[in-house]
């Protein structure tokens, strides 16, 4: 089968997909119709072929009989009448053919028919002195054999024409079956895959946008939290300063004990900060 690369050059859009689907449908219908036509013609063709074969063999015999009747003429006349016969030809043939058309699955086949004009006889006088009867007889025999030949000619012409038409039709059938249909199918699957790809890209893009948004939000949150913490610290420090000042002012003797107490308070504040950061990171990841 034709490779995946064999497709029509189209833009993979939904509209083209519709067009292509229509085309595939058409091609399939056309294929089955042509196939049927080709079968009908082939049937006829085989029939004709057989008849040609028979007719050609029959012609061999008929012509032999005819040639023999001519031998009888030359026996009776004791000479060759060829020259006399040739010279008595008039300007209108007695034996002509008519052609008729016959329609076989849309193909016009000519049918020849003998068209004998009985009023014309160029050889009435030939052999008047002797052999006239034999000449007339030979005339009849030859007329008969020419009729056979005319039939054969019809068959043969039909054969030639049918042969041509069948070849063309078969070529079309094959072209549709092996080129057009696969190509259209390829095109359709190409369009489909392209459209799917587009869909996935779009989805990924949306996700990515969402993620970016979330990261931005988290960062903003963390900043905000840090700011708050700092403010608290500052406030505490301020508070402590005031307390120390107060204590220094009030109690100078109790200095060591008060220093230990402040250390414990700072540690507790530090622990609170780490927990907050951990929590934010987990949220972003999952």
């Amino acid at each position: 089968m034709s490779g995946a690369g064999n497709r029509e050059q189209v833009f993979p859009t939904r509209m083209t997909l519709g067009v292509m689907k229509g085309k595939l449908k058409g091609a399939q219908t056309g294929h089955s119709l042509l196939k049927r036509k080709s079968e009908a013609l082939t049937k006829r063709f085989r029939d004709i072929t057989k008849r040609i074969d028979d007719a050609k063999r029959k012609m061999g015999r008929v012509m032999q009989t005819a040639a023999f009747s001519l031998a009888e003429v030359s026996y009776a006349t004791g000479g060759n009448i060829g020259f006399q016969v040739q010279e008595s030809i008039s300007n209108n043939a007695r034996f002509k053919v008519k052609s008729r058309q016959e329609n076989v699955s849309g193909v016009y086949l000519p049918q020849f028919e003998a068209d004998i004009n009985e009023s014309i006889n160029d050889f009435k006088m030939t052999g008047l002195g002797r052999g006239g009867q034999q000449i007339q007889k030979a005339r009849e025999v030859y007329s008969k054999s020419v009729e056979t030949l005319v039939d054969l000619a019809s068959l043969q012409t039909a054969f030639v024409i049918l042969d041509d038409v069948i070849k063309v039709t078969n070529r079309r059938v094959n072209a549709i079956e092996h080129v057009i249909i696969p190509r259209t199918e390829n095109t359709i699957s190409y369009i489909n895959s392209e459209l799917d790809e587009l869909d996935r890209e779009e989805f990924y893009r949306l996700k990515k946008v969402q993620e970016k948004k979330q990261i931005a939000t988290a960062a903003a949150d963390a900043l905000m939290a840090a700011k708050k913490l700092k403010e608290e610290q500052d406030r505490l420090n301020e508070l402590e300063k005031h307390e120390i000042d107060d204590v220094e002012k009030l109690v100078v003797k109790d200095e060591v004990v008060k220093e230990e107490e402040s250390e414990v308070n700072t540690k507790a504040n530090d622990d609170d900060n780490t927990d907050l950061v951990n929590e934010t990171e987990g949220d972003v990841i999952f």
Partner: protein, 121 residues
């Protein structure tokens, strides 16, 4: 094609003297004064050269009033290539036996086409 076949009413013949005489007796002959269409039959004997045969063959096949061309098989053999390569539907070319040369179906160009198509010999 239809009109093409309509005007073709004549039978032309190329052959030896006996064949021609017989065909003329049957009444196929037509002699006119029209240039190029004087006679629709031609006597060919053993002395007739192959290029004369060819010229006649071409003349008859190119005339537009001939429906059937009869040719003796032994003459067709001389110009076999041309006969074989003539594939137009008109005029129909029939190879006929002559008195001295009986019919041999194996040589007939149409029958050979038949055999080629169906692959039997």
């Amino acid at each position: 094609m239809a009109s093409e076949a309509k005007n073709r009413t004549l039978i032309a013949c190329m052959g030896d003297e006996d064949t021609i005489t017989g065909m003329l007796l049957a009444g196929i002959g037509q002699v006119t004064n029209e240039p190029g269409k004087e006679k629709n039959f031609q006597i060919c004997n053993d002395d007739t050269k192959s290029d004369e045969l060819l010229a006649k063959f071409d003349e008859f096949t190119s005339r537009d009033d001939i429906a059937i061309l009869l040719i003796n098989q032994h003459l067709a053999d001389v110009i076999r290539l041309e006969v074989d390569s003539f594939t137009a539907p008109f005029p129909a070319i029939l190879e006929i036996p002559s008195k001295d040369h009986p019919y041999d179906p194996e040589k007939d160009s149409i029958l050979r086409r038949v055999r080629r198509l169906f692959g039997d010999s």
